[in-house]
Every structure is written in structure tokens, then in C-alpha cells.
Amino acid sequence: MAESNLLPCEALSHFGRGLWQENAIFRQLLGMCPTLAVTGALQPALTMGVATTFVLVCSALVVSAMRNLLVGHLRILMFTLTIATFVTIADLLLRAYLPAMSARLGPYVPLIIVNCVIIGRAEACASRQGMFTSLSDALGTGLGFTLGLCVLGAVREVMADGTLWTHAVMPDGFVNWNVMKLPAGAFLTLGILLGLVNQCSLRKKKAGTG
């Protein structure tokens, strides 16, 4: 049930956790579908990350505002209703102001509704904590998700097209790795990055205890 409001520094720890220790992509392995699908290049990856963060923040605030009214099994329905509303708004905003990106992302913007990250944070944090804590949790998770998407998108774009943000960065003789455009390349890149992240934290743990 609803806990009393946490102190600001405790609330901000949610932000840090969402950003790194409990990073949605590299630690929790949630939201894999958009992660693998839209990270072919940096621009769509960033757009998807910002859209997801927008939905995360708005739905966290609304869910947190009504957390004392949520009863039993209806809470999942309420989460989904809230998330669907803000995803629809995000989709309309994208179609109005970034039509090229909207066409590029295609069906994946409406699919943000079923992204486990959002409903996971709503259940784990927003429905139990006050608005400031929920806000910092949502921002941290969203930023962590966006960063993960951008790293993936940057690596895949450089390997697959030799460009970064559509500007050429690789030397002329570079042969494009077409596999990076396809799902196989996405899995490969994600796997290697996951390995690197795990290696980093293992080393930190060893340095901490050794």
C-alpha cells in the first residue's frame, strides 16, 4: 500500500537506480522489442527513447496521484488505460511535429503501450510512492532506457551505414556491415554490450571487496 513520502535524497536514489543499477535494457532486460527494432540508427533510437520517457513520466505522475484509489485487480486496468492515453498523445505529437521520424518508427510508437518498462515502474514504484519519488524514478528509468537505446543505435548505425546522425564518420574504404541493419545485428550488439556492462560491474565488485 502507499508508503509515506520519502526524503528527497531517498527519492533521488530512485533516479540513480533507474539510470544505471537497474537500467531497463542492460540490467532488467525489459522492453527488448523496441530496443532491437528501432535502434538501426541513432535518430530513431533517440526519438523512441524520448517518447518512452514522456509516457513514463506522465503515467507515473497520474498513477501516483491516484495511488490511494487503486483497488485490487482493477489497478492493472488503470495502469494500461493511463499508459495508452499518453502513448496516443505521444503518437499524435510525433505525427504532427516529426512526421519523418513517425513514419520511420512506424508501428513501434503505439507499441510503447505494451513496453514492460512502463507498466513495471507503475506497479513497482508509482502506485506506491509519492509524486516526487515517482517522478524521479520515471525520469531515471526513462533516461537509462534512452541512453541504452542511443548506445545501441550509435553502434549499429556506424557499423551498418558508416554514418552517425546521418553524417559520415567512417573513412571511405569502409565496407558496410549489413547484418547490423537486421535483427541478427541487433542481438549481436546487445549481447556484446551486455557482456561489457556485466564485466564493468564485476570488476567494480571485486575492487570493492578485494
Binding site: 538501426g40 488505460l81 505525427r95
Partner: protein
């Protein structure tokens, strides 16, 4: 019974109303911009198929099921007839596909197609947006139906469309939408030539 139901679900009902109004307001505010964006995609496709300063007049004809369908008569700057174009929607693999299909002045040759809106699978069906694949349609005769084949020469100008590997359904969807469009345009042209006489 009803009281019990309302006691449990009042939040769902109230928030559905509130969220519905919110989405409606946002949609109302942005519908103008979204329409303008779609319009500019259409204009861009028209200008790519015909010349840059072609003028298009909207006319109306009837399709196979008796519904009224708009199409465009396109004329050049000196008033010469450049051809006809039609915006047409059909079912694709994932969702609807909207095409702009253009034929020559006598509706005997396809001038080209442009995909205005589609949501096909990226890397597979999404390749219908590739200009090299769309170029297969340019120059094909509009007098026979287009046929989709699995292997062949993409550069050859004929009525056989080489499907995208791994995206047969998307390719066949586009071909069948184009066939439907040509049927409507040819019907419209015959109608006009009867009227002109």
C-alpha cells in the same frame, strides 16, 4: 447490484471519460498539422512522378463497388495532359498501405507508384519504400494485370514484379493495390472519353 458495480468501477469510468476528452482535445489541436504533413507527402510524390510545376484537377469516378472515388487529372504548365493519378488504400501485411499510382495520358502505361503511408516490417516489407523496387512499376503496361514473381530481373520493364525476399505478402499487396488503381483509372478515362465525344 448496480451500486456494487459502480462502487468498484467508478474510477475506471471517470478516468476513461477524462482521458477520452484529453486525447480528443490533443487530436483536435494537432489534426491541422498532421493533415498538412500528409498533404506534403502527397505533393512531393506527385512532383516526383510528374514535372515540378504540374497542376492537378480533382475529379470523381466510381469504383467496382459503386463508391465514389476521387482521382487527379494532371496537366503540365502549358496545359498539356500529363496523366492521371489516384491515391488508393489497401491491406498490407501489417496494416493498410496507401499508394499514389500514376498512369500516362491515355492510361496505357504506368508512370510510377509512390508509397504514401505504410507500416510494414522494417528490413522486409518496409523495402516497398525503396525507390529501386518501386521503379519496377514505372513503364509497365496498364492494359494487363501485374503479376508477382519470386525471382527475376528487377530492371526489366514488363508486367512481372519481382517480390522482395522475405516479404511476399507485402509485395503482392502492393501489386494488387496497383491493379485495383489501374482498373479504376482506366474506367475513369473511358468514362471521360465517352463524355468528350
Amino acid at each position: 447490484m448496480l451500486i456494487n458495480f459502480l462502487k468498484q468501477s467508478w474510477l475506471v469510468i471517470v478516468s476513461s471519460l477524462v482521458f477520452g476528452v484529453l486525447v480528443a482535445v490533443v487530436h483536435g489541436q494537432l489534426a491541422g498539422r498532421i493533415g498538412a504533413n500528409e498533404r506534403s507527402v502527397f505533393e512531393g510524390a506527385m512532383q516526383a512522378t510528374f514535372v515540378a510545376n504540374a497542376r492537378s484537377q480533382e475529379r470523381s469516378t466510381v469504383d467496382g463497388e459503386g463508391n465514389s472515388v476521387p482521382y487527379y487529372l494532371v496537366e503540365g504548365p502549358e496545359g498539356q495532359k500529363l496523366g492521371y493519378a489516384i491515391e488508393i488504400v489497401g491491406s498490407g501485411f501489417v496494416d493498410k498501405i496507401k499508394l499514389l499510382v500514376s498512369v500516362g495520358p491515355k492510361a496505357e502505361k504506368i508512370l510510377g507508384i509512390a508509397v504514401l503511408k505504410s507500416s510494414e516490417t522494417p528490413g522486409y516489407g518496409d523495402d516497398i519504400n525503396d525507390p529501386l523496387w518501386e521503379a519496377q512499376f514505372a513503364g509497365a503496361a496498364a492494359t494487363e494485370k501485374l503479376e508477382v514473381i519470386t525471382t527475376g530481373d528487377v530492371g526489366r520493364v514488363d508486367n512481372q514484379i519481382v517480390a522482395i525476399t522475405g516479404a511476399t505478402i507485402s509485395s503482392e499487396a502492393v501489386a494488387s493495390i496497383v491493379n485495383k488503381a489501374i482498373g479504376i483509372l482506366r474506367g475513369a478515362v473511358e468514362e471521360r472519353s465517352v463524355d468528350d465525344k
